[in-house]
Amino acid sequence: MTLFFQQLVNGIALGSIYGLVALGLTLVYGVLKIPNFAHGALYMVGAYITFVAAVVYGMGYIGAIAVAVIVLAGIGVALERVVFNPLRHAPRLHSMIAALGVLLFLEAGAQLAWGAEFRRLPSPFSGTVVLFGLPVATQRLLVIVAAVAVMIGLSLFLKRTTTGAAIEAMAQDRAGALLVGIDTRKIAMLTFAISAALAAFAAALVAPLNLISPTMGEAVNLKAFVIIILGGMGSIPGAVVGGYLLALVEVLGGTYISSSFSQLIAFAVLVVVLAFRPTGLFTRGV
């Protein structure tokens, strides 16, 4: 029972990270129809910025998270301006190739700047707290609470504010958005900023639990694509539910079936879901 409870908490913590990363990916896909293969690399850069701010510049952990989120939001805007905006009238394949280029650029850049060796970020929340009579790592609890708070905040932003409505409008009909007077360039930049900031936030939360390296984004990137295909490309609830679903299946499957299966499970789930619902769990049949 203790094992199950701990694995459940681990699964929910991992799902929170997956959910945040997949949210950013699905947002950019939904609004701009770009599958951003560089999203995992943004996550990796976010982890490094947190590490540098906390360890090299001696900022507190919370301050380092804020720095990473702000820097990555800026990188997101720069990517939209410099790489993806000039390609918006080109065939879709061009922005996919450009995204792969950004991925390689960021990974090589990180290796050049910070080296290939693994880094560890010490957590100020290294202890455990007792929850329902069982010990839970404080950092994992922080991951869950912070991630859920951000997801709720994002959802309120999209549903309750005019700017949020403009993002949804652009995702649903770009010409319609232009016609009502929405400056789609600004919304595109904002979407990239939010997307990259979400990746940075996820990375900063997970950095004290995992090792940091230039290739740490690759597995997460792959999982995030599995999640948004599973949840439905562009679907916000799909990204969140898909993130938790995948993480729980991975962690619990890894515990009770076989740990060597845990990577395989993600793709087994994907194949099964697509066999029955080819458009994903949360999309309307077209």
């Binding site: 005019t162 409505a165 403009a166 949804e168 409008a169 649903q172 009909d173 010409a175 319609g176 958005a177 232009l178 016609l179 009502v180 007077g181 929405i182 400056d183 789609t184």
Partner: protein, 235 residues
Amino acid sequence: MLDVDSLTVRYGRVVALREVGLHLEKGEIVVLLGANGAGKSTLLRTIAGLLRPLTGSIRFDGSELAGCPAYEVVRAGIALGPEGKHLFPELSVRKNLALGAYPHRRDRAGVERSMEEVFSLFPVLREKAGDAARSLSGGQQQMVVIGRALMARPKLLLLDEPSLGLAPLVVEEVFDAVAELNRRGTSVLLAEQNANAALRIATRGYVFETGQVALAGSRDELLDNSDVRRAYLGI
């Protein structure tokens, strides 16, 4: 109010509009007639800023709009209810309308007033305000299209084929609403295949053929013209 002069628009190598000129005075309803592909839609989409003209000018209340992006054209006072509707299907009718007032979004009281005005023009939309736009009937969706354009408080409303796919009774309802909003002070430029319904409310019209203006005249001149009667009125 609106002066279009020698406007040429191309899609790739195809010339969709060739040296088109037309004008519209404040308070008018001007109708554009013509077969599919004659250039009516292209003209409206170019005025609205969705397409860039190759040459020519679009002057509106003294300022040049040719080549301006759509979001600036809306701010200048021209709103388009496009063919194909381009609503936001998953958002509620209320949100669709509210987004129509995007240029005025900081003026919340004004947005509410505009919304009341749209509801008074299309009472059925008040009942459907909470429903997703995609769940409405074709006629109701067309009302949202017109309502959303009105939310921008345009001086000039462009409407592209508002009767397309609607039952005759609904067409009448939509055109009555267009005549009513015109009485309330909005000028209208209307592209329409349904010449009977359109000429009923129009002051003047232009007939388009293969990207050019073939004929222009007042409502009565067009109704009396034998070519127009044969080609567009079926008499």
